[in-house]
């Protein structure tokens, strides 16, 4: 009771969030039973018969998932490492440039965020189209043979990474830029007095100061490491099956598997699998982070 009173003020501030989360996130959680049920609409989730792990078997029988699993993990690994470092780098440059140019650049880099993947898929087609695509026209100027981009799986890891950076950079650069803006300017004043170069300031003040948020975002991304942005892998590739060797991810594989049956139990089984693995990985990472510096841990 005493702790409750002592923390009453903060608890009250958190209360709206606690309540909203409870209603809209925790109440529907009984849906986590769905992967283990043979869902009959007329019986409801709770009364449908149990089936153990039947809904999961399509994921693990055969070897179709292997390819998707490998792709998912590789892309997410690259996205985490490359995506984070490019965003931080751009944010640091933004800070260096001061407010003048930043406004324009930030706005322009943010525009792709508004273009849904479906529409972006068409826009990329304008670049990569076999006959009319800009890239093939450029190749033509140099006397090169046109490339059938949508048939050649080997180019796609690169194209998809570019697409992901293109769409996400504006968003994540804003995050790190805002974090940089939150740094107490006294630190920089002190560094200037010590005669530290701007590069030096970036390395020894900016980066360490935003390190906690970088670490946090990385941990959160690790939690999503089995998930992927369906639109990126489905729409940008125009779902060209010749590219699957390098573009098929868990989400697209599951989509293809269930396209006929639309089985809710099997769909939720895939989601459950993705979540539980991510969850374990986050707990693990968080544990390690906490050992190193407890301030940076998520919880």
């Amino acid at each position: 009771m005493k702790t409750l009173r002592k923390n009453g003020g903060l608890l009250l501030l958190a209360l709206p969030g606690i309540v909203v989360l409870f209603i809209f996130q925790y109440v529907p959680l009984y849906g986590l039973l769905l992967p283990f049920k043979d869902y009959r609409y007329d019986l409801g989730i709770l009364n449908s018969p149990w089936t153990g792990f039947d809904n999961f078997t399509y994921l693990f029988n055969g070897n179709s998932l292997q390819r998707a699993l490998r792709n998912t993990l590789s892309y997410n690994f690259v996205f985490i490492v490359l995506g984070t470092s490019i965003s931080v780098f751009v944010a640091l440059l933004f800070r260096e440039l001061g407010r003048g140019g930043v406004k324009v650049y930030q706005t322009v880099l943010f525009i792709p965020y508004f273009i849904s993947w479906v529409v972006a898929g068409f826009a990329f087609r304008a670049l990569l189209d076999m006959d009319y695509g800009v890239l093939n026209q450029v190749l033509g100027w140099f006397g090169q043979e046109p490339i059938m981009w949508y048939n050649e799986a080997k180019y796609w890891p690169f194209i998809l990474i570019v697409a992901a950076v293109w769409k996400g950079l504006g968003y994540s650069a804003v995050i790190y830029y805002a974090a940089l803006m939150g740094i107490d300017s006294e630190y920089y004043e002190a560094a200037k007095i010590d005669g530290a170069s701007r590069f030096r300031q970036a390395i020894s003040i900016s980066v360490p100061m935003i390190a906690p948020i970088i670490i946090m975002l990385v941990i959160l991304n690790i939690g999503k490491i089995f998930y992927s942005d369906f639109g990126l892998f489905y729409n940008v590739t125009l779902n060209s099956s010749q590219l699957y060797p390098t573009t098929d991810v868990i989400d697209t594989f599951v989509y293809r598997s269930l396209i006929d049956m639309g089985d809710l139990g099997m769909a939720s089984a895939a989601g459950f699998f993705q979540s539980i693995v991510g969850f374990v990985l986050v707990l693990l990472t968080n544990y390690i982070v906490r050992k190193v510096n407890s301030d940076n841990a998520l919880f």
Binding site: D42, L46, Y58, N63, S64, D131, S241, S257, M261, G262
Partner: protein
Amino acid sequence: MKETRTKNPKKATDRVIQWIAAGAVLAVALTGCGSGNEGNNWDKASVQPETSANADKPTEIANVSWYMLKPIDTIKNQESVEAEANKMLEAVNAKLHINFIDNAAWEDKMKLMSASGEPYDLVLTSSWTNSISNNVARGAFLPLDDLLQEYGQDILKKVDPRAWDAVTYNGKIMAIPAQSPYSAPVGFVFKKDLADKYNLDFQNIHKLEDLEPFLEQIKANEPGIIPLLTTKKVTAGIVMKEHTDVTKGLKYNENTGKLVWDTDVPEWLDFFRVTNRFYQKGYIAKDAALKTDYTAEAKSGKYAVMRDSGGYTADGSKSTTLYGFPTVEALVGYPIIATGNMTGGATAISKTSPNPKAAMKVLNEVWKNPTLSNTLAYGLADKNYTIESGAGTDHPRVAPKTGAEQTWAIWHNWLGPLWDQWDSNWNSTAALEEMQKNNNEAKTSALLGFNFDAEPVKSEIAQVSAAYTEMASILNTGSMPDFDAFIANMKKRLLEAGLDKVEAEARKQIDAWLSAAK
């Protein structure tokens, strides 16, 4: 059935959750962001909408909802059309409201409504959208046998007797199959100017190989034209004359009664081998496997040969209308009528329907009264269509408004009684008669009425589906470098995915079904 539903054991456990939700709702109300009308919502889950209380009092008007895929985006004067229809429904003391759902939301929404037990009465179901098999397997629909006998006599009179088998699951009728073309003719469509220019004897083209000389001429002499249109999912002129689809990758041989894999069917192999040859000779666009909008591609006029536009007209009028330029048509053949062909459109009654009797009565009126079904389809005279001739008779000819002016449409084969359609440019009476003739003359499958239950092998079906879908776009467009290697690999992939297990299960079910049918 209906009576016990409300005392379902599920309710007890649901109540626990209701109480949790109730507490949650209260909490929302306390924090002041509730919607203001949550006062009575925890008794909402016990499914007692207003109408159900009146179920057995015929003097009261029952409200019936009908969920339907929205045929056009520009639907406007729904209230007045419904008012007109409801005048005709006074006889059965019911009021119909049609809930149109956009294409964009339809599949997801219907699945969620059924899965969550939301009350609704009638719904469009079919083999290709809001799948009848999946819904029946999940227990979403009400068996209709008794209701049909009692309130659906006019429906029973008009439905093709063979079609009942297609909607019968475990001996129970689960939906009302619409009248529709069961064996839509398959053919090729040629751009008329090109066919004329090269004196194409199109009437003697009956299979894909026959196209070769023409395609070659086009390729050689018409630089702006792509000889043959195929896309990711659609190919032109394929008819299986001896085989019926059972499930993805598996066919039934009508002559031997054996199950065969697609990859072992000679007709099938030949067709795609020719497609592959055409691709390699440059008769098919190199990026055909990326194309999805078949109709838009066809309409662009840059192809010499296309698939049929959903039927065959000797004078090419059907495809000319749809594709928007002069065309001629060649007939390839008529598919064997199988279960799936008969459920291109059907209407089911939801298990959650508060008033299934009223729903059946409404449906019966729609089938019984052509004025009602045509009003629902075409809308109101003068407002949505004009009468061209025969006003006041049973068979007027009408002209629905088109383009942006069109503010109402429901397709007759979604309502059910297609043969009662008034003559118009949607379907002429002659076209309707042709369809009925085809239905009666076309070969029917020995498996007509058999519905494969995927449940026991759903894990394998899922994997086969993933593998097959991956390879289908390459097959349809012939865009593989080495056909035989591709097929060998396809066989291997399908085997790994467990098509052999699917086959064994299908065999078992078919044998059981055949012996029960005897």
